[in-house]
Amino acid sequence: MLKLENVSFAYAINNKIFDDINIEIDTQEIVAIAGRNGTGKTTLTRLIMGLLHPQAGRIKLDEMVISDKPPYIIAKNIGYVFQNPDHQLFASTVYEEAAYAPKQLGMTEEERDKYVKQALINTGLWDKKDFMPQTLSLGDKQRLSIASALAANPRILILDEPTSGQDCRERTVLLRLMRKLNNNGLGIILVTHDMDILAEHAHKVVVIADKQIAYAGTPRELFSDEKKTIELGLELPETVRISKEMEIELSLTPQELYEKITAGRKKNA
């Protein structure tokens, strides 16, 4: 469990981003963070990662308080994948890139080799381990930054708009990877403005509005209340819109939608 207890944060006096928020995030699930632009989605993940520190309250990972620790300590437990992979790729090979965090965090050579290999295999980059990171395609680069966070063997992975700039094929690959990692026991915190992705993949949604946690619960419950969704500054996902138009039960994933449509047709026939 990742717990935020009475957390308040402001970049400047009189400009509070969060005012006394409390939330528990299950570290087994895919939890999406949503909200209007500028409401503080990434401020929240930055607080969790220790890039920012709350002015009041504390953040705990299980029983350990992490809100007073710097990011390079928290990195052992939480990996953070930024939106733009170009902001971190520096090594001359893919392998070296992935091996940086474990080296920095003081793993033994044996452990390091094990986790780096595992991370590169998981992300489908093992065959490219001798390539130069900057010459990879955007999709590969993004997966490499995921691999380099995975190599530190964290319990939680924060993904900040991981699909931005990627084409639909790359996006599919990346989301499939996210699901697989989660099935293997990794907790995912996903910051996204794409409601289609959120509806299809997230177990829970946390919506931020007006310096508060405005909603925390399942996507199904959220999207079944159209008025509230709009009020929170979010759009309905395409799947939900289609199910409304076709007047069938609310469906979140395309798969579900297909099934509901088929079932509906059989009934009619």
Partner: protein, 424 residues
């Protein structure tokens, strides 16, 4: 590969130098130092630029003058004007050293040219700088010999070390430059009529950008060129035309808005293209007001570009291109780096430009979310080949049936077809 760039891009030495010098300026402010002595990052950066581009001696001198003026404007040195002499002299010598390649030496298979060249250049620059300072300000000889000159040597050594560490990967990026982008196009036949809103789609690396830049006449000069090809806009043969003629016909907006904004304020940015074209100040001011109104940045003329959001920056790029009054607007993934709100604003704007101002708009996109309802015709590319071009419905149907980048087809279209076929 490297050779091609030297023939083609006459401007690359300018863009590389400026971006690296800007990095140099901020590194002087933020990088760690040893006992108050920080590296002269400006020198490391312009030497890197000179090593990468291997410019002429005259260009080398120019790089030095630019660096000297920047240093004079930004540094807190004992004698601010000294940089105006030391940097040009050093950069010119650097260009000379690089041109003759006398230090292209290898020690156990590692080329140490960058290290030596940075060391010498820093020493020349620093030597001139401290000597001038000593003479002009009449500083004590002991200070000069035991503190200033050793400091120069230390800075030169550290700079050489730092430069050696990043030069080779940098050179690899410089020479390979997005291997995906170099994808050759094969056997493409495409007609786009006047006044159309046309989309070209395909996965990243399918050759979309190359095609688009070819349309704009940018690629032929960067690459070896076209073989047995014809490219016409109206009756103008793009392949044979000079870029000045094309600039009047086609305006291009790319995804990386940062790379396309080169001045400090919104007003200056719009003026830039018009100044290049030699319009009179009165014309520039009139045109500028007009385009800023169109893109919704009307009262922001004096705003610093740095303070704008991504969406605003991209609209500014668009405005700067609109100011050039071209018939055709070509956009390469215009919303790839913009948040969804900004993206919608940009596409609404493009729609208006197409409908009300009758601009022919060609967009390259790997995601059809925002454009789907605006277009009537589209094309799909895969592996450098044009797979289909025609009406939207036909093209999507083709993609669906033949599994050509079918991921991009909107869900409701897929469902409709699958229902028709009784699949669901």
């Amino acid at each position: 590969m490297a050779k091609k760039y030297h023939q083609g891009s006459d401007l690359r030495w300018i863009t590389i130098t400026t971006l690296l010098l800007a990095i140099g300026v901020i590194l002087r402010l933020i990088s760690p130092n040893i006992g108050g002595i920080s590296l002269n990052w400006n020198i490391v950066m312009y030497v890197t630029a000179i090593l990468l581009c291997r410019p002429t001696l005259k260009q080398g001198l120019g790089i030095g003058i630019v660096s000297g003026i920047i240093a004079t404007m930004t540094s807190k040195a004992a004698l601010p004007y000294a940089n105006l002499l030391s940097d040009p002299a050093a950069a010119w010598s650097c260009a000379l050293l690089v041109k003759t390649r006398i230090f292209n030496i290898k020690i156990s298979r590692i080329c140490i040219e960058p290290m030596i060249v940075i060391f010498i250049t820093t020493f020349i620059s620093g030597g001139i700088f401290v000597s001038l300072t000593k003479i002009v300000l009449a500083l004590p000889m002991s200070l000069y010999l035991y503190a200033m000159l050793p400091a120069v040597l230390l800075v030169a050594a550290l700079g050489a070390l730092a430069g050696q560490l990043f030069y080779f990967p940098a050179a690899r990026i410089f020479n390979s430059d997005g291997s995906e982008k170099n994808f050759l196009l094969k056997n493409i036949n495409l007609n786009i009529s006047k006044g159309e809103f046309f989309v070209i789609t395909g996965v990243n690396g399918s050759g979309k950008s190359t095609l688009l830049l070819s349309l704009a006449g940018a690629r032929p000069s960067y690459f070896a060129g076209f073989k047995d090809s014809q490219l016409f806009i109206d009756d103008i043969d793009i392949i044979k035309s000079d870029s000045a003629v094309l600039n009047k016909k086609i305006g291009v907006v790319m995804a990386d808005y940062e790379a396309q904004l080169v001045t400090e304020t919104i007003n200056d940015e719009i003026a830039f293209s018009l100044e290049n074209a030699g319009l009179s100040p009165a014309e520039i001011i009139k045109k500028r007001a007009e385009v800023l109104q169109k893109v919704g940045l009307k009262n922001l003329g004096n705003r610093q570009i740095t303070s704008l959001s991504g969406g605003q920056k991209q609209r500014l790029v668009l405005a700067a291109i609109l100011a050039m009054d071209t018939e055709v607007l070509v956009l390469d993934e215009p919303v790839a780096a913009v948040d969804p709100e900004g993206a919608r604003e940009i596409y609404d704007l493009l729609y208006k430009l197409n409908k009300h101002d009758n601009k022919t708009i060609i967009v390259v996109e790997h995601d059809l979310k925002y454009v789907m309802d605006m277009i009537s015709h589209m094309a799909v590319l895969e592996n450098g080949q044009l797979m289909f071009t025609g009406e939207k419905q036909d093209c999507l149907k083709y993609m669906y049936t033949n599994k050509v980048y079918a991921e991009v087809i909107p869900l409701r279209w897929k469902i409709r077809w699958e229902m028709e076929q009784g699949l669901c």
